[in-house]
Amino acid sequence: MTEPIQTPPVPAGNGAQQNGDALLRVTGLVRHFPVTRGVVFRHHVGAVRAVDGIDLSVSRGQTLGLVGESGCGKTTTGRLLIRLDEPTGGQIVIDGHDVTHLRQGQMRPLRREIQMIFQDPYSSLNPRHTVGAIVGAPYRLQKVKVPGGVRKNVQELLELVGLNPEHYNRYPHEFSGGQRQRIGIARTLALRPKLIVADEPVSALDVSIQAQVINLLEDLQNELGLTYVVIAHDLSVVRHISDRVAVMYLGKIVEMADRDQLYAKPRHPYTVALLSAVPVPEPLSSPSGQRLRRERIRLQGDVPSPLLPPKACRFHTRCWKAQEICRTVEPPLAELIPGHRVACHFPENTAPAPAGVAGPTAGADA
């Protein structure tokens, strides 16, 4: 394992999970991509509202899962969090540092604290570099002097992620997809970051390999006290890996709660529909052997364009509970019960719980 490297002076939190000890805090984060017309005289004709005002915080040592369908802005959010992209508005505070508008050079020291795991293990590794060069690159780029030398440290990292340290001089093409993802993870860990943003870390991998990488991420979290933001569309994977889960729809967070709470009692209709759409590996058949389909909520149509998102509640065009108020008043992300925030006028699963803090509730409905 690498020895501690000189990092900016920050409180040496050992990863306790006290409430309020947030490593990452995001408020009102906005990213609009301008849409322009014209070649000589470019004028703005609109904006893709990829991320449109989201708040979240992640406590030390915890895992936040960010789920949603393609185009909901989850990847853009991830890129903003580690400042691969410039936010249009809002604030990002990492470990007490406001990083919202830092320039690239100013960002560099902080890059040791925050790292990213990419989705595609085939395109995120340079095919012309050896594994040693890839995993050692963070040391070179950050001009970090590591005791024992880069090679020794890289080999330790390879061992940490379950690769053979002898493979130091091999090239990415000699490895399978799962092994490449491990190489990417080793590179991520080189500088001992505190926060890791993982964008679909296992979606390119086969099921049996997925489990290996998920277990590895969990072991590393336990050993090194890492904090994760895991972006994924696979709701089963997110349930497995996360402590807290945020559901995004068209650039907004529509629901955020602790994992068990969210999966047991989802309150936003979109979350309910999303969970019911997941195919269950348990065939249903009638006593006569006839195959049956599971009852599920069928959402109609596709996600609307983020260029012109629906007014007020963005889900109202596909929601089966939508009423007049949903088309006119945007529901706030309200804390219905402690730790469970929902942006809906008519949340589900509210009957027995002491709910009804915000907005009119529809009472007991299916």
Partner: protein, 366 residues
């Protein structure tokens, strides 16, 4: 099972390459009746797509060496001349591909592509074919098909493109429909729509469907029978209830244990299959799964020398290629259900100084 609509007997598809012979499919047999759905499951490189392309006659003109028999209503497609297979392809059997964006031609309207497919096999006027295309688009749930028929593929969303692909595949009322990962590129809510659509269309047209996927959830939703493939061979074959209720092959066990599941209480740790899938050039001797199998010590060393035949173990119609006796399988599966995994008794991980994993390992009653 005489008289099945599709019978595949001892199919072998090998490719000669500079590195050696790739045994992509190595002795696969199955049969399929009208109105039934067969799910073929396996990881990448297990030969599931090569099998389906072999049935469709799409290896013609490549260096594939195909032996064995593919009987479609008694007609052997392996021995048939390419012209005859071409006649059948599209009319009697059709295929839906994984990526609808790259399987639709970007220069032609969606309508033109459906019309072309229809007119190749049917002697009808352009107007009649166009009307047929509009009907089909409406049938697969494209809104306002009269205008959308003249749209280009890029004007369709991912889900709509897959619907258009299905419309094209159905244009000649095929009796056999092969869907190769039809929903892998889609979001869960859209995936649910497409699976519903395939299911509805099958009951309406009574065609036989082969559903190729790596997602056990998807096959559990749709398939009557399931073929689990590993390294070009059949590992297990049986009804959906058998495969999910009482699987008989350690590879199937591994697949089931390595997926996080939303329909069960959350488990603390996934059980991955160790290692990686083998190269199809150097398939391991004996049982191709033995280097990754946790049960080889139970068979007295036969696993790495003898290829296990695919044979029925307990229930008729449920066969597995494994040297374990029926009694051993029952014991091992029950042990696995009880959470006991051989060789994983102690957790070798988290010997690190701090351990601050998720505190609450509570369970959701989802």
């Amino acid at each position: 099972m005489a008289g099945s609509m599709l019978e595949v007997r001892d199919l072998r598809i090998h490719f000669q390459t500079d590195d050696g012979t790739v045994r992509a499919v190595d002795g696969v047999s199955f049969s399929l009746d009208r109105g039934r759905t067969l799910g073929i499951v396996g990881e990448s490189g297990s030969g599931k797509s090569v099998t389906s392309m072999g049935i469709m006659g799409l290896h013609h003109g490549t260096n594939a060496e195909i032996t064995g028999e593919i009987l479609l209503d008694g007609e052997n497609l392996v021995a048939a001349n390419p012209g005859r297979v071409r006649e059948l392809r599209g009319s009697k059997m059709a295929m839906i591909f994984q990526d609808p964006l790259s399987s639709l031609h970007p220069y032609y309207t969606v309508g033109a592509q459906i019309i072309e497919a229809y007119r190749v096999h049917n002697d009808v006027s352009k107007q009649a074919a166009r009307q047929h295309a509009i009907d089909l688009l409406g049938r697969v749930g494209i809104p306002t098909p009269k205008t959308r028929v003249d749209d280009y593929p890029h004007q369709f969303s991912g889900g709509m493109r897959q619907r258009a692909m299905i419309a094209m595949a159905l244009s000649c009322d095929p009796e056999l429909l092969i869907a190769d990962e039809p929903t892998t590129a889609l979001d869960v809510t859209v995936q649910a729509q497409i699976l519903d659509l395939i299911n509805d269309l099958q009951s309406e047209f009574g065609s036989a469907v082969i559903m190729i996927t790596h997602d056990l959830g998807v096959v559990a939703e749709l398939a009557d029978d399931i073929l689990v493939m590993y390294a070009g061979r059949v590992a297990e074959y049986g009804s959906a209830a058998d495969i999910f209720g009482r699987p008989d092959h350690p590879y199937t066990w591994g697949l089931l244990a390595s997926m996080p599941r939303m329909d069960r209480a959350r488990i603390t740790r996934l059980v991955p299959i160790p290692g990686t899938p083998p190269s199809l050039i150097k398939v391991p001797s004996g049982c191709p799964f033995h280097p990754r199998c946790r049960y080889t010590h139970l068979t007295g060393g036969r696993c790495d020398t003898e290829v296990p035949p695919l044979r029925e173990a307990g229930t008729p119609g449920h066969a597995a290629a494994c040297h374990l006796t029926a009694e051993q399988r029952r014991q091992q599966w029950d042990a696995l259900q009880a959470g006991k995994v051989p060789g994983e008794a102690e957790e070798p991980v988290s010997q690190g100084p701090v351990s601050q994993g998720p505190v609450s390992q509570g369970r959701a009653e989802a």
